[in-house]
Structure formats: C-alpha cells, structure tokens
C-alpha cells in the first residue's frame, strides 16, 4: 500500500510540474493544507480530491501550488503571506482546521484574494465576520451537529448524554446539537483536547441513565473513545458527526464502530452519476476509497472550475458572482450557497457497515433538507 501511495505521489508531483511548465498559467491556486505530522491524513485527502478534479478537467492553464502547514497556525499564516506576496496566487484553499482558518482567512480575503474552504467552517466567518471573497464548500461547523440534534429528536430520544473536547469547536458542536434537539440533556461533558482515555466518561455515561450518546471527538480521540466504549458493555446507542467515522479512520476503529449512526452531507453511496464517477475514479487513481474530505476537495476544485468557465479571476466581481452561482454538480447532490456563502445542502444519517473486509458507511435516511446555517442572519454582505 505504501509503495502505491509513493508512486502516486511522485506521479502527482510530476503532473503538477508538467501543468505548471507547459503553459502560461492563467489561474494560480495556492493550497495550504496539513501534509505532515498528526492529522496529515485529512490534508492528503483534500489535496488528492482536489487534484483529481483538476486532472479530470484537462485544463493546462491552472497551476496549483501546494504547501504543508504542519497543522501550525503560525506556519499557515506564513505560507499565506508567501502565497500572496511571492507566488501571487489568485485563489487560496486547502485549510483543514478551524483555528488555522481563523488565522489565515480574514487576512487573505482582506487582501482581495478569493478563499475556498474545503473543510473548516468556524462560526465567526459565517456570521459577522463573513466576507464576499470567502466561500465555504464543505459545511458550516454547526451543520452536522444540527443534523445530529434533529436526528436524536426524530428518533424520539428524551435524555441524551453529550460530549466534546473543551475548545471552541467543541462548545459549538454541543450548542449545534442542542439547537434542534428538544429533549433533556443527561449530562454535558467537556473532555481534554487530545485525551486518549475515556474510561471515566464511559463510567459517567453508564451511570447517567441516558437513552443516547452524542459525541464530537475528531481524529484519534474518536477512535480511542469508540474502541473503549464498545469494550465497556454499555449498550446505549451512539450518534456522532461524520468526522469520527470517516473512511480514513474507520479501519482503525474496526468493529467497534459497527452500527453507529453518524451525520454527513456526503457518502459514497449517494446514487448520482457524478458521485459514482467520482468514487470509481478516485479508487482507480489512488487505490483507496474516497473519504468525506476527498469529496470536499473534489467539490472545491469543481466549483472553481465552474466559475472559471464563466469569468476570469482577474475580473474580481464577475468571478465572485460566478462562484456564488455554484454552477457545478456537487458529488453530494443538491448544492447552493446561502447569503453568507456557506452551503445549503441536505444532511444524511449514515450507519457504519462492513462490506467485505472494509468498514464503511451506508446512508439510511435524510435528516435535514436544504439546510443552511443559523449564522447567515448575522452576515451583512
């Protein structure tokens, strides 16, 4: 598997090099994403999804400059400076983490650059801090949590135990859940960021008498929680957002995740020709199933390509309205931008299943229809 990725990577690099050398690039895109250290998997997926779409477009006038932010905000800011000052890119994209986005986005949009977010959607950027140059192609951070709350409500849960790490995105997550959930909260628990042992929280869950658990624990935290939860003998059903059940990490959770319900705006079994073409071409290109992040990277590139069809980046106003029109077919199905340039889309509930040897997700229902976000009303644009 390792060799495969390596070969792919070098192929990719030479592809980029070829793209940049053959033609006078009309459009220069700067991608700042996490490619090394913990969390590199997400950045790699976004990059691969994005580059796949660029490759399929067969356009030679787009140059993509990719840089690794190491998940450090100060490095991300420095790279953004580099992209703007010396690479002179027209469009920026790629950032995975909310805190890095908060560090980079306001500054680059203020400098007149377009920013397309393939993953993070912190609430300040959707509300009062929105900007005509900022487009979020993934979701506003609350989106999947809203859906979690709505799902818990529709399933008739009356007493839910909710849990997230103690940092802004965690607080947002639990508030997002509570927005559409009307029952009682058995207990609201904030864990340490980066915590790896959840024995004590699981004991609290066991003692709480809750009828469901909603948790937001991205990355390794979620893997640890699920493995420990499944071994604890507690049988209360678990709901979460897609982040802990993504294709990339699901294999590491294994059977512990089977049957868990999670909310997502995308899944590989969405039965549209665009999506099926995306899944099979991604599989062919990279020899692995695409993840949610890959789908978002792919959508981001396609949005960009669609706008380039109607306007040139040098025509700022024209290009912005071309982006806003979102005249592309998203792999997730219906997609349009709200007044704050954040997606209005459907959110599904998925279940973790095993297909052959591979753990993956299956859509079992739609929770929210054409869902926007609650911050749009604060956006004066």
């Amino acid at each position: 598997m390792k060799l495969g990725t390596l070969a792919l990577k070098s192929a990719l690099i030479s592809a980029v090099a070829a793209l940049s050398s053959t033609a006078i690039a009309d459009t220069k895109v700067g991608m700042i994403t996490t490619l090394s250290g913990g969390g590199a998997g997400l950045g790699i997926d976004v990059r691969d999804g994005f580059m796949l779409a660029i490759k399929q477009s067969e356009r030679s006038d787009i140059e993509v400059v990719i840089e690794d932010d190491q998940r450090k905000p100060d490095i991300a800011v420095q790279l953004a400076d580099k992209m703007v000052q010396s690479e002179k890119v027209d469009v920026l994209t790629g950032i995975i983490w909310s805190n890095l986005a908060m560090a980079v986005v306001p500054s680059v949009t203020a400098q007149g650059k377009i920013y397309l977010s393939p993953n993070a959607g912190p609430s300040p950027l959707a509300g009062a801090g929105c900007h005509p140059n900022y487009f979020n192609v993934a979701w506003q951070n609350d989106s999947l949590h809203n859906a979690g709350g709505a799902y818990a409500q529709s399933e008739g849960y009356k007493n839910v135990f909710i849990m997230a790490p103690n940092y802004p995105a965690g607080t947002d997550a639990l508030n997002g859940f509570k927005a559409l959930y009307k029952g009682d909260v058995a207990s609201e628990v904030y864990t340490k960021l980066g915590q790896t042992d959840y024995a004590s929280e699981i004991a609290q869950i066991r003692a709480s008498g809750a009828d469901a658990v909603y948790f937001f624990l991205p990355g390794g935290m979620g893997i640890s929680f699920l493995k420990q939860y499944s071994g604890s003998g507690v049988n209360i059903p678990v709901i979460g957002p897609a982040f802990s059940f993504d294709q990339g990490i699901l294999q590491a959770v294994g059977a512990a995740a089977l049957g868990v319900r999670n909310t997502s705006q995308w899944n590989k079994d969405i039965d549209t020709p665009t999506n099926q073409a995306f899944v099979s071409s991604f599989l062919a290109e990279y020899e692995r199933l695409p993840s949610l992040y890959a789908s978002q990277g792919f959508d981001t590139a396609n949005l960009l390509l669609s706008a380039l069809e109607t306007a040139s980046v040098s025509d700022n106003a024209g290009f912005r309205s071309a982006l806003k029109a979102a005249n592309f077919i998203s792999v997730r199905g219906d997609f349009k931008f709200g007044s704050n340039n954040h997606p209005i889309h459907d959110v599904y509930i998925r279940e973790v299943v095993k297909e052959g040897d591979v753990f993956t997700n299956k859509i079992i229902g739609k929770v929210l229809n054409d869902h926007g976000d609650p911050y749009a009303k604060d956006c004066k644009m």
Partner: protein
C-alpha cells in the same frame, strides 16, 4: 454520585496510573542509572504500538502482537543506544534534550513514511473483551483489569529484579558509582545497552497494550511522554517505587479531577460555566499537583539529592 460510580472511577484512575507507570518505569530507570533525559521514550512507545498493530494485522494473534512490540521496541532501543545515546552520557542535560528531541522528529516522520498517515487498527482479543462484574455490582471492562494486572506484575518483576538479581546489583552499583562498577570489571557499556533496551521494551509493551484501546497513530507517544515525565518527577527521578506512586497519584488526580471539579464548581456558579471552568482546571490539575509537590519537596517524593 453513587458508590458504584465512585468505585469505578477510582479503578479508572488506578488503571490510567498503571499504564503511565509502564512508561515511567523505563524512563526513571534510564535516568537513574545513566543520568540521561530521554525525550524519545514516547517514540519507543509508538514503535511498540505500530509493531503490534502490523503483526496483529498479519497474524491475527494478540500474543504475537505483544511479542512483536517487545522485540521491535527493544531492538529500536538497542540500536538507538548504540548509535546515538551512548555518545550523550557525558554531555549535559541540554545536549541530551536536544538530541533526543531530534530523535522524536526522526522516529515520528520515519513511522509515517513506513506506515502512512492514517491511524492503524489494533483491537483487544475476543477473549478479553467485554465487561466483567466485580463484587458490589461494578461492571468493569475485563481488558482494563488485565492491564492493571499486567502493570502490577511488571512493577513486581522490576522490584524483584533490582533487589534480588545480579543485574539489579549492577544497576544499583552503577547508580551510585560509575567508576566503581567499571573497576569491578563489569562491562558497563553492555549494561547500559541492556538497561536502555529494557526501558524501551517496557515502553513498547505499554504502547501495544494501550494501543489496543486507543488510536495507533503517529505522535501518540508525546502526550504520554510528558505525563510520564510528570510522574517520575513527582516520584523522584531514579526511584521505581516513586514512579509507581507518582503514576497512581497522577492517574487518580487526572481521572477524579475531571469528574469532581466541575461538580464542585456547580455549587458556586451555573452548570454550563462550571463545566467549562472545571474542565479547564482539571486539564491543568496534574501540572498544579506536580508544581506543588516540587515546591514542597524539590527532588520529588522519593528522590535523593542529585
């Protein structure tokens, strides 16, 4: 809060502490005997977990996975000792910190290069999964009880080794006087390599055992490493007994602090603020504990003056 919940939480604290002890024991041994600060100990923990996950994936056997973890981390430890660490014994702490910091970079990125960027899968064996009912009606995961047992046997084994065996005598002699042990004709560099790989093997074992219930990923070692340092500093550097007691203290403080601090604060302020402030305080709790202990006893609970 019921008795059952309290008892379960105390067990959790103990289990967390025992797990930290496995890391801390090697660290404190290496420091006590060789005077070396090894920041790369967390990388050996990671190597253990990755080796276990890789072998478990190939063979499906948990025992084989544990063996692989022991062998891989001990081998990595010996290799690092021979190539790098032995050049550091006579340098000051500053150089040791920097060199082992460099080793972290090499190990982390090297592991990512070999295994890729996604977490690996490692699960507990079916025979050890599921809960067990303890006296008093406490339901507790069997695997965690096994962890406690494994940790305590390692503690016992180390204690016996140091007090009863020939190697133990050499270790104690080396601790007190390097020149004496050399004068006795004991092969000191061989002894050091042995102790370093023993410490590495313990870390690797911890990584494999814990990896089964957590996420096996690059960078998993550093948070544990910092906690293990807190443990040995509280216990007194070089003391195995101190490491055990320090580990239990840290485990209990961390676990119980996370539960009781928010509850206590609810008497003073509204629930939401209490939860938030309580969680912040509890994430700082062990460092506050360590600071307090060092201010009270500048060389830790069982430390001797350096």
């Amino acid at each position: 809060m019921t008795f059952v919940l309290l008892a379960e939480q105390i067990l959790n604290g103990v289990q967390f502490g025992i797990m930290l002890f496995l890391m801390a024991a090697g660290l404190t041994l290496i420091f006590g005997v060789m005077g070396l600060i090894n920041l790369a100990h967390g990388s050996l923990y990671m190597i253990g977990a990755f080796a276990a996950a890789a072998v478990a994936g190939m063979t499906g056997s948990f025992i084989m996975a544990l063996l692989a973890a022991l062998i891989a981390s001990a081998a990595a430890g010996a290799l690092v000792e021979l190539l790098v660490i032995r050049r550091l014994y006579n340098k000051d702490h500053l150089d040791q910190v920097l060199a082992t910091f460099a080793l972290i970079l090499i190990f982390s990125e090297g592991t990512r290069w070999v295994f890729g960027s996604f977490p690996l899968f490692l699960d507990i064996p079916a025979s050890l999964s599921g809960p067990m009912t303890l006296p008093g009606g406490i339901q507790y995961p069997l695997y965690r009880l096994v962890l406690i047992g494994a940790g305590l046997s390692v503690a016992l084994g180390l204690g016996l080794m140091i007090t009863k065996t020939r190697i133990g005598i050499q270790i104690r002699a080396g601790k007190n006087d390097r020149e004496m042990i050399a004068a006795l004709g004991i092969n000191i560099s061989g002894l050091y390599t042995l102790i370093f790989s023993l410490g590495a093997a313990l870390a690797g074992l911890a990584g494999a055992l814990v990896g089964a219930i957590q996420s096996v990923q690059v960078g998993m070692g550093e948070p544990v490493l910092i906690l293990a340092f807190v443990v040995i500093v509280i216990g007194g550097i070089g003391s195995i007994k101190g490491a055990l007691i320090g580990a239990l203290l840290v485990g209990l403080t961390d676990t119980l602090g996370g539960i009781f601090l928010p509850e206590l604060l609810k008497f003073v302020t509204d629930p939401s603020t209490a939860t938030s402030i309580g969680s912040s305080l509890s994430s700082m709790a062990i460092y506050i504990l360590m600071g307090a202990i060092l201010i009270w006893r500048p060389t830790g609970l069982f430390g001797t003056k350096l």
